[in-house]
C-alpha cells in the first residue's frame, strides 16, 4: 500500500545498503590527493546491481521500476555519501524517456541502463540558481553557453542541457565541452562549471515536450536530493546514538542525561518526518509518469533538507570536540546536508511554493 515497501523494494534497499557499506569510500575525496570525481569501481558495482537502469523501461533493458525505487537507492547513497553520480544519470535517462523519441531511446537507454555510458543533467527552472545560459545554433545541431554550477557532470559522456528559451538538448562531451571541477563544500559530489563552444548537440523532443521534461526532471532530481538528505540525517542520528552510549562523563554514558537524550529524540522525529516527506514525493511522482508532483516535492525538499542540516549540526554538537575534527566523518554529512539544502531552492523557497498552491489561484 501507499508508503509501505514491497518485499522487492526492501530487498533492493538492503542490497544497496550492503554494497555501499562494504565499498563506498567517501573519505578518499578528503584525504587523498588527485582522487577522481567518480569512484569507477563503485559505479560498476552499482551497475552490476542494476541501479543506473532502475527506472528505465524494460523494453530498453532497464528494470522498469520508478521513483519509489530511486528514492530508496538515493537515501542509501546519501547515507554513505557515496562518490558516484547516480542522481544526474537517472534524471538524464528520465529526460530521454520523456522526449518520446523512439529511435533515440533505442539508441541510448540500453547503454544508460547498463551504465556503460554515463549521463549528466543540468536543471533549470524556478528556484534553480545560478542559472545555466545556453543557446542552440539555428539548425539545432550545436549548443554554446555556460553552466555555472552543476553536480554529477564530471566524467559524463552525455549531458542533458536546457537552452535559455526552454528547449532541451543532448550534448556529447568532447573537445567542444569543457567541464572544470570547482572546489565546493561537498567533495563527494563535486561541482563543476561547464562551458559549451559549438558543442555537438541533438534536440531532445520538441516544443510539446519541453515543459514536461523541465518540470518532471527537476521534480525527480529534487525528490532524490530530498531522499539523500534523509539518508544523511539517518546516518548522523545513528552515529550519534552509538556515541552517546559509548562516551562517558561524570561516570555515566552521556546518553543518560536528558539534555542529550531529548536532543536525540528530536533528531529521531526530524529523521522520520523527513523520510515521510520524501516518501510522499516518491509516491506522488510514481502515481503518474508525467506528473511533477509540485507540492509533494516542495514539501520533501523543505522538510528533508532542513532536517539534514539540523540533525547533522546536532550530531556535531553532541560529539563535542571530536565532532569538529577533520578525521571524524560527521563533516562529510554536514557538508552534503548544507549543499542539498541550498542547491535547488532553499526550504523557505519551497515553502513559498506550497503556500502559493494553498493560497493563490
Amino acid at each position: 500500500m501507499e508508503y509501505g515497501l514491497s518485499p522487492e523494494q526492501r530487498a533492493l534497499d538492503e542490497a544497496v545498503d550492503h554494497l555501499l557499506d562494504a565499498h563506498a569510500r567517501p573519505r578518499a575525496a578528503y584525504d587523498e590527493a588527485d582522487t577522481p570525481a567518480v569512484d569507477d569501481a563503485l559505479w560498476s558495482r552499482l551497475c552490476d546491481l542494476g541501479v543506473p537502469g532502475l527506472a528505465i523501461p524494460e523494453e530498453h533493458d532497464g528494470a522498469g521500476a520508478g521513483p519509489v525505487e530511486l528514492v530508496l537507492v538515493s537515501e542509501r547513497l546519501g547515507h554513505a555519501v557515496a562518490p558516484v553520480p547516480v542522481l544526474g544519470h537517472v534524471v538524464a535517462a528520465e529526460a530521454i524517456r520523456l522526449a518520446g523519441d523512439d529511435a533515440l531511446s533505442k539508441e541510448l537507454l540500453p547503454d544508460l541502463a547498463s551504465g556503460a555510458r554515463r549521463a549528466g543533467f543540468v536543471p533549470a527552472g524556478p528556484g534553480v540558481d545560478p542559472v545555466p545560459v545556453a543557446t542552440a545554433s539555428a539548425d539545432q545541431t550545436t549548443l554554446s553557453g555556460r553552466v555555472p554550477l552543476v553536480l554529477d557532470a564530471l566524467g559524463a559522456e552525455l549531458l542533458v542541457v536546457p537552452t535559455t528559451d526552454g528547449a532541451w538538448y543532448l550534448v556529447q562531451t568532447g573537445d567542444r565541452v569543457t567541464v572544470t571541477p570547482q572546489p565546493s563544500l561537498d567533495r563527494t559530489r563535486p561541482a563543476a562549471v561547464v562551458v559549451l563552444e559549438d558543442a555537438p548537440a541533438r534536440r531532445l523532443g520538441g516544443r510539446d515536450t519541453d515543459d514536461l521534461i523541465g518540470r518532471r526532471c527537476l521534480a525527480l532530481l529534487r525528490a532524490l536530493e530530498a531522499s539523500e538528505a534523509v539518508g544523511v540525517a539517518a546516518w548522523a542520528l545513528d552515529r550519534t546514538r552509538a556515541y552517546a552510549v559509548d562516551r562517558e562523563q561524570f561516570g555515566l554514558p552521556i546518553g543518560t542525561f536528558q539534555a542529550v537524550k531529548h536532543r536525540l529524540a528530536d533528531m529521531l522525529v526530524a529523521v522520520e518526518n523527513a523520510r515521510s516527506a520524501s516518501y510522499g514525493a516518491a509516491w506522488a511522482l510514481a502515481a503518474s509518469p508525467d506528473t511533477d508532483a509540485a507540492v509533494e516535492v516542495a514539501m520533501a525538499q523543505a522538510v528533508a533538507t532542513d532536517a539534514a542540516v539540523r540533525v547533522t549540526a546536532d550530531a556535531v554538537q553532541l560529539h563535542g570536540g571530536i565532532g569538529v575534527t577533520w578525521e571524524n566523518d560527521l563533516h562529510l554529512r554536514l557538508r552534503r546536508a548544507k549543499t542539498l539544502q541550498l542547491l535547488h531552492g532553499s526550504p523557505s523557497w519551497h515553502r513559498s511554493r506550497v503556500a502559493a498552491a494553498l493560497l493563490d489561484n
Partner: protein
C-alpha cells in the same frame, strides 16, 4: 463512499474485507440516522442518554468494540477492519461508542488478566454503555512519575479499604466505575506494591470534584477516596500486580488512532486557508503577509506529515511487521502540530482573535480562542512531551534510563 476513502489511502481490499465493509455500511445506513437525530437534538443528561443508547445499539451488533475477542462481544477485528470501521463511522458522521475509556483501556486489561467472574460481571455492561468508566491513575504527587502514587489500599478481611486522591480523571463526573491504581504494599519497591482495582463511583467515600481548565471546560475531575470499601474480588490480576497489568492495550487499534487526529487537523487547516484568503477591511489578506504565508505552508506540511507518519506505521502493521518508531513518534509530533496549528489560527485573526464566544465579530465565534486555550494541554495530557522524549530516547534509540527512575 468508503471504498474511495480506502483507495485514497492506497489500500486494496480483498473480497472478504470488502464484504465486511459493505455489511457495516448497510448496518450504519439502517441504524445510525435515528440515533443521529436523537443525539443532535438533545442536550445535557438527555444527550448523555442518547449517546449511551447509540453505544447499546452498536454493542447489539458487536460494533461497539470490534477489537475485542468474539466471545466477549467483539469481532477480533484486524487492523484493516479497524481502518474500515473508523472510515465508515467518519463517512456517516457517527461517533464511536461513548464509553471509549472503558472499552479501550480497561476492557483489554480485564480480557487479559481478569477472572472469568470479573469478565462475566463487567465486560457486558461496559460494552453496552450501561457502565461508563474513568481511569484513576494520576495523583497530585504522581504525574510523570506515576509509579510513586500514594493512594493506599489496606486489606481488611475480604475488603480493600482505599484512601487517597486521584486527579486529571477524564469523565469522572459521568462515570459509573473507575479502574484505579492503588498502593497495597507500601514496603515493596514502588512498582511492585501497586494493585489494579475496580471502584464503583457511587460507593460511600467517593467524591468527584470537577477541575475548571484554562479554557473554562471541565473535562477532568479530582477524585477523593475516603476509606472506600471495595471487595477484594474487584482487584484485577492479583494483589500487587497492578503495574504490569496496566500495560495491556490493543496494538491493532493503536495503528489507526492517528486517523482521528488527522481528520481534525485537516479540517482546521482548511478553515485556516479559507480565512487567510479573506480580504478584511483595514487588514487586507493574511495570505499577502509573507511571514504568515510561510507559517501556513509549514503548518500544512506538518499536518501532512502526521498523515504520512500514520500511514507508514499502518502499512507496517498491516504487513505483519512491528510498528516502527513512527508509532512512538506520532504522539510527540502530533501534539506539537496541534498546538502550532491553533497558534497560527489565532494569529491569523489578529486583534479580533482576542474575542471569545458570544462577542460580535469573534472569528469562528471564538472557536479559535477556545482551541488555542485547549491545546495548551496537548503537550501535557497522556504523558508530557518531555516524558515522550525520554520514552523515544530510551525505548527506540536505546539510551540508558534516567538513573533516578528505577525502583
Amino acid at each position: 463512499m468508503q471504498s474511495a476513502a480506502v483507495e485514497s489511502l492506497g489500500l486494496r481490499l480483498d473480497t472478504a474485507d470488502q464484504h465486511w465493509a459493505d455489511q457495516l455500511n448497510r448496518w450504519l445506513d439502517e441504524h445510525w440516522p435515528a440515533h443521529g437525530e436523537a443525539i443532535k437534538s438533545a442536550a445535557g443528561a438527555e444527550r448523555e442518554r442518547a449517546l449511551r443508547a447509540w453505544q447499546h445499539e452498536l454493542a447489539g451488533a458487536r460494533y461497539a468494540s470490534i477489537g475485542w475477542p468474539e466471545q466477549h462481544g467483539g469481532r477480533a477485528a484486524t487492523t484493516t477492519q479497524q481502518l474500515l470501521y473508523y472510515l465508515a463511522l467518519g463517512a456517516h458522521r457517527a461517533p464511536p461508542a461513548t464509553g471509549r475509556i472503558g472499552l479501550n483501556l480497561c476492557g483489554p486489561t480485564l480480557i487479559s488478566h481478569g477472572t472469568a467472574e470479573q469478565q462475566e460481571r463487567f465486560l457486558g455492561p461496559m460494552l453496552r454503555g450501561e457502565h461508563l468508566w474513568c481511569q484513576g491513575f494520576s495523583e497530585p504527587g504522581a504525574g510523570s512519575d506515576l509509579a510513586s502514587l500514594r493512594t493506599r489500599g489496606v486489606v481488611d478481611g475480604d475488603v480493600l479499604v482505599i484512601t487517597g486522591q486521584k486527579i486529571w480523571t477524564s469523565g469522572a463526573n459521568r462515570a459509573d466505575w473507575m479502574f484505579a491504581l492503588v498502593r497495597t504494599d507500601p514496603t515493596a519497591p514502588k512498582r511492585d506494591g501497586i494493585s489494579f482495582v475496580l471502584v464503583p463511583m457511587d460507593a460511600d467515600g467517593v467524591e468527584a470534584r470537577p477541575i475548571k481548565q484554562i479554557s473554562g471546560d471541565s473535562d477532568f475531575s479530582e477524585v477523593f477516596l475516603d476509606e472506600v470499601r471495595v471487595p477484594l474480588a474487584n482487584v484485577v490480576g492479583g494483589l500487587n500486580n497492578g503495574w504490569s497489568v496496566t500495560r495491556t492495550t490493543l496494538a491493532n487499534e493503536r495503528a489507526v488512532l492517528f486517523l482521528g487526529q488527522q481528520v481534525a487537523l485537516t479540517s482546521t487547516m482548511r478553515k485556516i486557508v479559507r480565512q487567510a484568503r479573506e480580504d478584511l477591511p483595514g487588514r487586507g489578506r493574511a495570505a499577502d503577509d509573507h511571514a504568515l504565508r510561510d507559517r501556513i505552508a509549514e503548518a500544512w506540511i506538518e499536518t501532512e506529515l502526521v498523515r504520512i507518519n500514520g500511514m507508514r506505521n499502518l502499512a507496517k502493521v498491516l504487513d505483519g511487521q512491528n510498528p516502527g518508531p513512527e508509532g512512538s513518534m506520532s504522539k510527540l509530533f502530533g501534539q506539537h502540530v496541534e498546538q502550532q496549528v491553533h497558534e497560527l489560527a489565532l494569529d491569523l485573526g489578529g486583534g479580533s482573535s482576542v474575542l471569545e464566544r458570544g462577542a460580535e465579530n469573534a472569528p469562528y465565534d471564538g472557536k479559535w480562542a477556545l482551541g488555542w486555550l485547549r491545546t495548551r494541554a496537548s503537550t501535557i495530557g497522556g504523558g508530557t512531551s518531555e516524558i515522550q522524549r525520554n520514552i523515544l530516547a530510551e525505548r527506540v534509540l536505546g539510551m540508558p534510563r534516567d538513573p533516578w527512575a528505577d525502583a
